[in-house]
Every structure is written in structure tokens, then in C-alpha cells.
Amino acid sequence: MLKRTALFSAHQKQGARLIDFGGWEMPVQYSGLMAEHLAVRKAAGIFDISHMGEVTVSGPGAEAFLNWVLTNDIRKLVPGEGQYTLMCNERGGVVDDLYAYKLSAEVYLLIINASRTAADTAWMTALWEEFPRRDEVNLHDTSHNYSAVAVQGPKVKDFIADCFPNVSCAAMRVERVTDLKKNQIAEFHFENGGVLISRTGYTGEDGFEIVGEDGMIRHVWKKILEKGEPFGIKACGLGARDTLRTEVCYPLYGHELDEETTPMEAGLGFFVSLDKGEFIGRKVLAEQKAHGTKKKLVAFKMADKSAPPRAHYPIWAGGKAVGVVTSGTQSPSLGAGIGMGYVPPEVAKQHPIEIEIRGKHFPAVIVPKPIYRKSP
């Protein structure tokens, strides 16, 4: 039996097409992937992201514990700030990529991938048992307590404050929700409770992610669709979420990231703080930083008209199969085939490659990330 989010009946009413995503029955699209994608690029879109996991880590030892478990330096955060970070194994392989928010001096909220919730909590619990100050750290998988939505697009800032008109009441102190800066988080009153709102997203556009109790998020979904309607908001499915993140080269766990791939190989070294002290995976990551990696994640664009590149298609260079596509699609914004994949570092430098599609080779060029850049 697939798990359903608190918004399931809303999706059904809106005519969503539902699919199995990591054990969750989730909307892949409503009106159409292309229209939803372009709504987010030009106006606004709302996504159900309730399948994502939430872990709270609290106590006087929480900061030290998280700085040992995660790659980024959590000490950089003040209450009300978040950061993109990674959780690695001893080999430097990625257990998960996540957002870590500091809600108050000793309380942190981690937003993790739905498909990794069990693996992450098992790994964190194992590390907690080894952690000398474990008595000062409380670790809770609170995923079942929360639902969440993402509201993304250039027009969102024009109506989001109509949905949450109050000053914030916890975490970052702001007068209005639109005063939140990128990666900041705050709690706002909503109806007779509160929701956490961060200025983050997975689309490359400005936007907000809102976490709260099930009943609260049902009302948030309705309210945002109502206030966003004059601005052209569309309910968007995982299909558009995937093409949007691929255009801006955000990794997706299971595609660009897995336990045998390191953040350095994935081009995420920016989120690895090698100088913060000891942390899990540091040895391998420092070694790779100094001496390079055997594979490198690149972004590419098809040079000519072809079928869209897709995950698992072989990448060729110099007459040899040198790598594999991890994500690929027809870019709705660019009208061309785009993708990402791993190749040896010497191929990453030499720009012409070929993508094998159903036995035939099609020329592609390695391009800087992100493949799509929003207009300023």
C-alpha cells in the first residue's frame, strides 16, 4: 500500500495523475508537465512535498553532533538560517543530501529525501550511539508529524504575504514573510497554529517552502492557490519538479548521488567544510580535494535535434563509452535535450561528447552549470 500525503484528496479533486514515488502516491502532473514547468519559470507553481522527511536534532550537544555527521559547517548558522549540506559515509559516499535549519540555539530541523528517510535515521542513530556526548543530543524522526508545500516562481513574492500577513513569531525575526532572505526560516502564525516558512526551493526560482501539521498544510495549499490565482499559479507535479531541477543542475538522490559517489565527484565541494575539524568522510574528501577524483559530474546540451537524453544512456567520447547519463530530459525552457552525467575528469575538460540513444550516437556539448539561468 502506497503512502498518501495529507493533500491526496486535493490532488484527486484537481485531476492529478498519480504515480509511485519512493513508496508515496504522488502527483506527477495536473494540467500538463510543460505548462506547469513554464508557470514556475514565468509566474508561480505550488508543489506537494509532504513526502520529504523531517528529523529534529536538539540539545546542548546537537551542534557538535551535526558538525560531525554533516559536511557543511553548521556553526555558520544563526537561529533562523539554513544551509544545504550532505551526510556521508566513511568512504565519503553520500548517504543523503539535505537542508539543515537552526531554529533556536539548541534546536535543528533537517529536511531529508523521502526515499532516504529510513537509511538516514538508521545511519544517524548508529553515529549517535558512537557519539561521546550522546546524552546531550535528542534525535527524532518527526516525518509523520509534518506535511509541506513548495511555492516557487518569480511572482510568488507578490502574493505570499497575503497568505501569511503577520510578523514572524520564532526563528528569524522579520516583519513580513517577504523579508526572509534566501535560506532563512521563520515561524508564522497561520489560522490557530503556526507554520515554518523558509525561502528555499528546488527549481532555481525565488520561492518558499512551508512545513506544518497536516490540517494546517491543507489550508495553506488552498489559500496559496486562491491568492496566487490572479498571478497565474498552477498546481505542479513531480514531473515539472524534475525538469526544473535538471535545468538548474540540482542533484537528485538516486540519480546524481548515491553511497558510492562523493560530494567532490558531484561538484558539491562548496558544501564540504574541510577546515571545520573532524567529520564523517573527511579523510576521503580531503584526499579528493587535494588529488582530484576519478569521475566528475558534468552538464550537457544536445548539439542537434535528437530524442531527449535519459538516465542510464551511455556517454561516449573519443570512440569509447566513458560514462552514463544520470538525469536527462527535453528542457521545456530551452526546447533542447539536456542532462547530467559522470565522465572521467579528462573528458570533462574536452567539450564534445556523444550520447547513445537506442544504439545511435548523437553529438552533445558539455556546458557550465546551471544549464538554464533565470533572467535577472
Binding site: Q29, L33, G239, T243, A307, P308, T329, Q330, P332, R358
Partner: protein
């Protein structure tokens, strides 16, 4: 509710067939295009290629997925529709018209009898 013209034959795999004498034009049904959504790429067989009923002979791709298209009948490919290759969205907007895929010169016209009637196809897609 998808459109299922009464003058065509159908396959389980959602191709439509318009038989005219010894030749048949083939495309994908309105139901199929709606399921596939935004079609971005169509690959069609070369004229002159011999096909057997049930052979994979074309590919249609939406943003999300690639789907095989099967030859509903045996024969030789007479012609492929260049317009739908150049503008794949035609398969979405005019599935029974400008979005046709290819024509077959039939080698065994009796195979037509094994195709589905509009009523049978309607029952299959629950239209």
C-alpha cells in the same frame, strides 16, 4: 473523454489504423496522446522497410517517457509523415489528422480483421 472516430480501426497498444484499399495510415489515438502528454520527439520508419504486424517500428517521446509504436499490420512502409517529425506536438493537437505517423502497403489485408473496432477500443480505454 477521448475522441474515438467511428471510421477507424484500433490496436490494444493505442494505434489507430485507417484502411484505404491496399494501404493503411497509422497514428496514435487521442487517448494515447493524452496519456503521453507533451510529445517532444517522434522517430518514424524509413520508406521501403518491410514490417510484420507487432514489430516495433517507431518511437514517440514525451518529456517524461519514451514509448514504442508497433506496426499494426504487415507490409512495406510507403511513407512517413515528415510534418510530425518536425513538429511532434501535432501528435497531441491533431492525433487523427496532421499528426499521422506512417503508411503501410499491406501484404496481408486479412490481418485487418484482427484489429479492434471503435466499440472494442472504447471499452478498453473506458471512454
Amino acid at each position: 473523454m477521448s475522441n474515438i472516430p467511428s471510421d477507424l480501426k484500433y490496436t490494444k497498444s493505442h494505434e489507430w489504423v485507417r484502411v484505404t484499399g491496399n494501404t493503411a495510415a497509422i497514428g496514435i489515438t487521442d487517448h494515447a496522446q493524452a496519456e503521453l502528454t507533451d510529445i517532444v520527439f517522434v522517430e518514424l520508419p524509413e520508406a521501403g522497410r518491410a514490417v510484420k504486424a507487432g514489430d516495433t517500428c517507431a518511437v514517440v517521446e514525451s518529456v517524461k517517457t519514451a514509448s514504442d509504436i508497433y506496426a499494426p499490420l504487415s507490409g512495406e512502409i510507403l511513407e512517413s509523415n515528415k510534418s510530425v517529425v518536425d513538429s511532434p506536438a501535432l501528435a497531441n493537437t491533431e492525433p487523427y489528422g496532421g499528426g499521422w505517423f506512417f503508411k503501410i502497403k499491406l501484404s496481408n489485408p486479412a490481418e485487418v480483421n484482427s484489429l479492434m473496432s471503435p466499440e472494442q477500443y472504447k471499452a478498453q480505454v473506458g471512454g
